[in-house]
Symmetry: C2
Subunit: 566 residues, 2 copies
């Protein structure tokens, strides 16, 4: 094998060559933190391209189906804007605009000849996290060591999306190993947050987050094992859904910790509207993905469940707000978003109670997202060190040990993960503990029937997606993902939705509270309204296992209530 | 802890005391092999009790719902017959007739007062494998070491069944560790086959198999991790269903290899008719068990799927017969049952093609059911040795190393499992390989669309449940479960149904075939029609993941075709 630095140099050159030269722009200096206006002001996009890229998924699909806009026009517009975005925030990995335009032309041709769309996502450009294999392309998942390995077939979801008429056109950045909630690696560099480039866009689907926030893609696919869809969605002001296990086909992707089939990753949509989330999920589920992926649950899209048949048809919902998880107290902007949402829901006639979290700290320990920093003896780190070593040792690639700006970009660390992992027997005991807590949590949720007054248990939980908004680079360490990973551990579907942005007047530093521990204190001390300037503030809505339809509908209801209350 | 022998002596005494003394009979001598006639001729059951215990589940439920028979009468009749059965074949573990009769009386009272049944299984006595915890009772799963551990709550399925109106009344025998396809342990001894007591009733749900074959229970619950419902069903001439993962609630049971959540056990029904299987599954699924067990799939009973909406509404089905699995060639009676079934289906107007098995040997190796005999490095034995040691060492209980008659009954072995298990990283690689084969098998099944002529892939596979009928004791070693465990590895639902019984005229020894290996040769050499005299011959019908409704309907169709062709 060549040395990893040689692989990276060659790959970077190829990436550069995959960018159409006429779409090169002069980005603002690094000192310009908010770059969200740049795509529309830089002069590369014409008025129609700006209009197209500002259009919601639902309207795009309607216009495409009526041939009001061609798939080629829409794909071109988003491709241009994606390339602009990339020059601002380094969000792309594989760029295959030619391939996408060829597919778009086929779709236009089909519609012209038959008068019919190919499928429910006809002509919609879709970006994909650098994990969804596409025949003939590399999938490095942030490892220099995987450069040069070309997929011989598509991931199942890629096939399903293409059958639905979608047009994959770019893939997006991730951290090395996929196991960080930020997005930096030696191959493609660091993705930054378009609202404030001194902040991270999150991870591991951080390229998607940044790209979609800049409207360089109408909808992207991320993956989520501990928050990797929800954290970048929340940090970039998007809507995102982490479905339950087995609802969206995952097979055929390139992942981390493959074969670890206890706490498994799921794929899901990230987009600018909740109707986009619905369009994606309905299309994918109705394509009968269980005939292509053995791990997909045979469960059709259920319109009754979408209409909240199990939730009194949505007439008097009862939401439970989790103000903090008993591990870390959220920063002021998050608290304010929860208050805004509570007031909006009450104004809309819904009931709101408090959610009492149980065993969130234990769930965090069991999952052991914190694969680098501690001796946590949980599922994910049971053999992560061994896998990372095996993957990187072939090229001498160092494992990235920090995402801090000063250190990481130039680091050629000699770090190797220190934890010894677990024996299989120990792993089984941890997994058994998790099963017991899942049982306990289910009983806990069912027992809320006594406090709702609706005759039903709480319909959904509303909670932070993280204790903070997008952090400065290097500060969103894996150890901080407890607000998301508990719902993976419990296998509850969870949607992220935007509420507001950081406002230094409204979001002043709070006086110190009684800290849970030093870690909680560290998080408290990190806050400074100026540092987090302009960052989007999002929340999570959490439902019951395999209740994606109801979670989407309830997110629509909350979203409309928040909008109406503004 | 007391020594295991002291625990066993005390427990045996308590079991004896739990048997109503007036129900003690004088069983025939051990030389009487076929004891199926004994319950009705021994004089303990009156004519009405014989009528009740010979009635199918469907008719029982109808008569109970109309109060034509009381729950007390029905429970009494089955309890008596169960106690008779136990004296013939040692099938019971916990006997709690008083508790059952008290519940039956409540049900009768409820029906009398309200005119309504408590649920869809109102008044139906149900036997349970010695794994389904019941509050206040011990659950030893065949370990002397677990004597004296009383459950503080019911397994979820027990609660669901009680809510449905069922009456649990006995629990049934299993092998020590649950990991053998026969049923012998130091606490409750050896369960034998009612059709020929020199043969095993199978395992690990072997107590259920023997009990139901003697009509000591109308319906029982077994569990299946590698064939433990299907092997005893097949060996005892019953109908049994191994559902897909997550269709029937498993939480709250006492299991083996707990926390191993890759290849997981499932609970399912064993009974005398396929309508009994349907009644059980429909009742359980419609009870919304996902609100009680976090691992249950949120999927209602689907009447469309039962009506074969995805299979052309059952008009021209195409079945595929797997004559052998490429590992072991089945014995002559099994071959004849396949031929009978093929002819019957063709006569009924269905199409029959051959099933080409792929990678069955690999799937057997991956699952590693063979936890004692080899160095197989698969999922189940990744840490089984450690678990077995930890469980038994507290009382000095030896691990049973053979189920042979002469050795095992008196053995106080010093054996300890020899295999070293796997590291977590190695386990993940094995699990990844399994995922890949699941994908390959799905594609393989989908590709059969080209040979069926129905426009659909093969609707169901029909295959042996084992390469032989019930074997002499000690001969059905774990290593022989490849015909069942592949469907666990693939998570395909599979139903067992009876076809015929061994007939020495029709089932003479076949000439030697080209053996796959020494193991195949061993199995060939084991066959002798006299040895397997009178044994039931059953087959398996295998469907697609989470397609229980369709598997039940297709089993009804095959069953009717076989009956019509007789």
């Amino acid at each position: 094998m060549p040395h990893w630095t040689a692989l990276v140099a060659e790959k970077k050159q190829r990436q550069l060559e995959s960018i159409p030269q006429e779409w090169i722009v002069t980005p603002p200096p690094d000192s310009t933190l908010d770059v969200t206006e740049f795509p529309e002001t830089c002069g590369l996009l014409n008025a129609r391209e700006i209009e197209i890229t500002n259009t919601s998924v639902q309207v795009l699909l309607e216009k495409l189906a009526r041939a009001e806009w061609t798939a080629v026009d829409v794909t071109t517009a988003f491709s241009k804007r994606a390339i602009i975005a990339h020059q601002l925030v380094h969000c792309l990995t594989e760029i295959f605009v030619d391939r996408a335009l060829a597919r778009a032309a086929e779709l236009d041709d089909h519609l012209k000849k038959t008068g019919k769309v190919v499928g429910p996502l006809h002509g919609l450009p879709i970006s994909l996290k650098d994990q969804l294999c596409i025949k003939g392309l590399e999938t490095t998942i942030g490892y220099a060591s995987l450069i040069g390995q070309y997929a011989d077939k598509n991931a199942v979801l890629v096939d399903v999306l293409i059958e639905c008429g979608a047009v994959p056109f770019v893939r997006t950045n991730v951290p090395q190993t996929l196991a960080w909630p930020e997005s930096f690696n030696y191959v493609f560099g660091r993705t930054t947050n378009p609202y404030n480039r001194s902040l991270t866009s999150g991870g591991s689907s951080g390229g998607e987050g940044a790209l979609i926030a800049l409207k360089g893609s109408p909808l992207g696919v991320g993956s989520d094992l501990g928050g990797s869809i929800r954290i970048p969605s929340a940090f970039c002001g998007l809507y995102g859904l982490k479905p339950s296990y087995g609802r969206v086909p995952y097979s055929g992707t390139r992942g981390t910790l493959e074969g670890q089939d206890s706490l498994v990753p799921v794929l899901g949509p990230m987009t600018n509207s909740v109707v986009g989330v619905k369009a994606f999920m309905k299309a994918v589920v109705n394509a009968k993905p269980w005939l292509k992926d053995p791990l997909v649950v045979r469960k059709k899209w259920d319109e009754d469940e979408y209409n909240l048949a199990d939730h009194g048809f949505g007439k008097d919902l009862c939401f439970a707000i989790m103000w903090d998880n008993g591990v870390v107290v959220p920063h002021p902007p998050i608290r304010r978003a929860l208050e805004i949402t509570k007031a909006a829901l009450q104004k809309a006639g819904h009931k709101v109670v408090d959610w009492k979290p149980i065993k969130h700290r234990e769930l965090g320990d069991i999952t052991a997202s914190n694969i680098f920093y501690t001796m946590q003896r949980g599922i994910m780190n049971a053999a992560s060190a061994e896998e990372f070593m095996i993957t990187t040792s072939v090229t001498g690639e160092p494992l990235i040990t920090t995402m801090e700006l000063d250190d990481a970009d130039t680091a050629v660390a000699t770090f190797r993960p220190q934890n010894d992992g677990l024996t299989v027997y120990q792993l089984w005991q941890v997994q058994k503990l998790r099963q017991n807590i899942r049982m306990e949590y289910l009983d806990h949720w069912e027992a809320t029937v006594s406090e709702t007054g609706t005759g039903r248990p709480v319909d959904a939980i509303i909670c932070p997606a993280a204790p903070f908004v997008a952090t400065p680079h290097g500060k969103n360490r894996s150890v901080y993902v407890d607000y998301t990973i508990v719902w993976n551990a419990l296998d509850y579907p969870a949607a992220v939705f935007p509420v507001t942005t950081v406002d230094s007047t409204l979001d002043g530093k709070a006086p110190p509270h009684g800290f849970y521990d030093d870690f909680d204190k560290d998080i408290y001390e990190m806050y400074d309204p100026e540092k987090f300037k302009n960052a989007p503030v999002c929340l999570q809505l959490v439902g019951r296992t395999l209740e994606e339809e109801a979670v989407i509908r309830m997110t629509e209801i909350v979203d409309a209530a928040v909008a109406a209350a503004k």
